[in-house]
């Protein structure tokens, strides 16, 4: 049967370079799976994560604790079934020490189950559904992004403290939309605000937001808070502008609604919009400048939030492997849980997002979130301007680690 030694062309190039620059004696390789949604609606995010992984790989010359890293890429196609099958391949055929990546929450939760049963560590790179490190938490599962609640509750509290008393929530009616709503409401209402209307639209089927925007308008709320992504985000932002509500009832949200990749499609109406994010290339800390420069040198463009998320994912996995191997006398530990323990103990002070550490549920926590505005840059193109920072929210409880 075919044992795939699977470097794609990019990795092969990088691998050759790394091999040339390291001593020529044979070393054991450590296999790491990059299992993410290369095809499907998250294709762009997956590419962003992959680019960041390769940067992190280059930066350590493809080595971890004296072992060569071999990255094996698999496409989970944004389908839990395919994800489970590919995880089985990585675990049983390729014999990976650990695997990460994954954008989709659905795939992430499925893989958490596989990781827990097969006792092979899995580190989600995005997959922000709360239950991943809540109800479904495991000694073999960690996440380097954040949970929906941490981001949205922090943001909700921020707006309430800024004097916003009433808000309308708009979002797609499925698990992610409901989780974002719950998170925002938690933070916003605890800080004295009130969500006066919860407008959940059918996911993937809504084309006309007119009725929802009209309902929102009638409430006279101070702002609309949204969670939409991709083409839905473009349509909501455009229709909101067409309703002339930008001044009277601004449309706010997190990084997805005003994603950089959508700016062209929005055609200018995104200008001056304000949203929260957990990374922006407008940050000017030492760590973020360094990351920005390294990314620019390698790819010739500025990194975006999903690049930063992929970078944390890869760095955390590599650092955890390093620590776990060193603690085990230069060999991979028998029990994969030791790698997750090492990951949980990491203090990523040089993360481009700001210092990142992990809580008891193995979920990433960062110091603060960033409120950014889309403004015209020096070159006349839209860019982020950092206007404020805000405290990070908390994870939902619910994890009972065996």
């Amino acid at each position: 049967m075919k044992q795939t030694n699977k470097f794609t062309s990019l990795v092969a190039g990088v691998g050759l370079f790394a091999a040339a620059s390291t001593p020529a004696f044979a070393q054991d390789t450590v296999k790491v799976g990059l299992l993410t949604d290369f095809s499907g609606v998250f294709a762009q995010l997956a590419k962003d994560v992959e680019d960041a992984w390769m940067l992190a790989y280059d930066e350590r010359d493809g080595m971890v604790a004296g072992h060569k890293i071999e990255i094996i890429k698999e496409d989970s196609e944004n389908s839990p079934q395919v994800g489970v099958q590919k995880a089985n391949k990585l675990i049983k055929s390729d014999d990976v020490a650990i695997f990460g990546g994954v954008i989709s929450s659905g795939v992430g939760i499925a893989l958490a189950g596989v990781a827990d049963k097969e006792k092979v560590p899995f580190v989600a790179g995005f997959a922000i559904a709360d239950p991943l490190t809540g109800k479904f938490c495991s000694p073999y599962v960690a996440r380097t992004s954040f949970s929906a609640n941490a981001l949205q509750a922090g943001t909700g509290a921020y707006w309430a403290n800024k004097g916003i008393k009433t808000a309308v929530f708009m979002g797609p009616d499925y698990a992610a939309g409901q989780a974002m709503l719950a998170g925002f409401k938690n933070g916003f209402e605890a800080a004295g605000g009130e969500v006066v209307l919860e407008e959940l639209t059918p996911f993937g089927k809504t084309k006309d937001w007119g009725p929802s925007l009209l309902k929102a308008q009638q409430t006279g709320a101070d702002m609309i808070y949204t969670f939409y992504a991709g083409s839905e985000a473009v349509q909501v932002v455009k229709q909101h502008a067409a309703f002339g509500m930008q001044e009277s009832m601004p449309l706010r949200g997190a990084m997805w609604i005003y994603d950089e990749a959508l700016w062209d499609a929005m055609g200018g109406v995104q200008m001056n919009a304000i949203h929260v994010t957990n990374y922006t290339n407008a940050l000017d800390t030492e760590a973020s400048e360094r990351f920005e420069k390294a990314f620019m040198d390698k790819y010739g463009r500025l990194p975006v939030a999903s690049n930063a998320m992929g970078y944390t994912n890869a760095v955390a996995i590599f650092d955890a492997l390093e620590d776990a191997i060193e603690a085990n006398g230069g060999e991979l530990p028998e029990d994969g849980a030791a790698i997750i323990d090492a990951l949980s103990a990491l203090k990523l002070d040089n993360d481009p997002r700001g210092p990142v550490h992990f809580n008891d549920d193995h979920n990433a926590m960062q110091e603060e979130l960033y409120m950014v505005q889309i403004v015209e840059g020096e070159d006349g193109k839209p860019t982020h301007k950092l206007i404020d920072t805000l405290p990070y929210g908390e994870d939902l409880p619910g994890c009972e680690m065996q």
Binding site: M1, K2, P80, K92, P131
Partner: protein, 348 residues
Amino acid sequence: MEQPQSDSYQGQSGGDVSSHDPMEPQAAREHKTFLLTSLAGLLFLIAIPFLVGEYYVSLASEILIFAILTSGVNLLLGYTGLVSLGHAAFMGVGAYATAIGSSLLGYPVWFVMLASITVSLVIAYGIGLLSVRTKGVQFLLITLAFGQMFHAIAEKTRYTGGDDGMTNIPRIDLSLIGLDADHDRVFYFFVLVCFVIALALLRLVVDSPFGRVLVGIRENEKRMLALGYSTFPYKALAFGISGMLAGLAGSLWVQHSFFVNPHIMTWQMSGEALLMVIIGGSKAFFGPLLGAAFYVLAKDFLSDITEAYLMFFGLLFVLVVAFFHGGIAGFIARIFNRTGGPAGKDDQ
């Protein structure tokens, strides 16, 4: 009516609906070759875990699970001539019933499996009663609509985690016979046992007078009506049995992947099942198994080579449909007939 091209084409004896003599020479020979090929195939399936690595054993489990689903689909498609786009829903019913029963309510898995199969039979029969009154495109659309309805229910139900689904679903407890189904090889044999029982039952069904009536309906429903058969209950029961097999496949699937979410009930899943049947050969009893094997292995092989594998996959489908008359099974049958080999080998 077109006469069967070869006696190896199972169930194409549409002309002999009224013939009940099982011991006529051709039928007897057919029966013998069927038993022989089944036995050879079964020996091969038993040998698999001793020949290949763990990953390919888990792929083989997947193939058998899909083969149960597609054999069920084929009872409608190949034998009765009904194209259903809603079978993923019954797979989902079996999957969710198993997940809820074992993971949320804590019943033992063997009991939950029996319950899941019963529930999918009842639900599929009910939906069959409503949908088999229609034909052709209308039937396809009504099954699609029911499928989407179940998908929507699963997505909305908070109790089962909505869109997120459920994970950590246990596999069957085989500790009574000293085995642990968490091991892939053990689980494979469990799936194989379920597969053999399911296909043996299916074979009994299609060989029975009931199965003959189904074939008659496929070939010429009006003639069946004229012969005095009320075709409606036959079609509804066929739909129910077919849904029951899909439910069994779903129940095995959640145990295989430890996981369920509404994705399992998408109409694309129903479409894939139809593709497997058509590729494998809807006229042959083991066509769906061949189709499932081809589908899973080709996908695994191609996706290893290129990320754009769906393109090649599509091309393969077109080639199979265009040149392999009667799917893979039909192709094999023709090779054996031309070389004078034993008829019926295509069954396996």
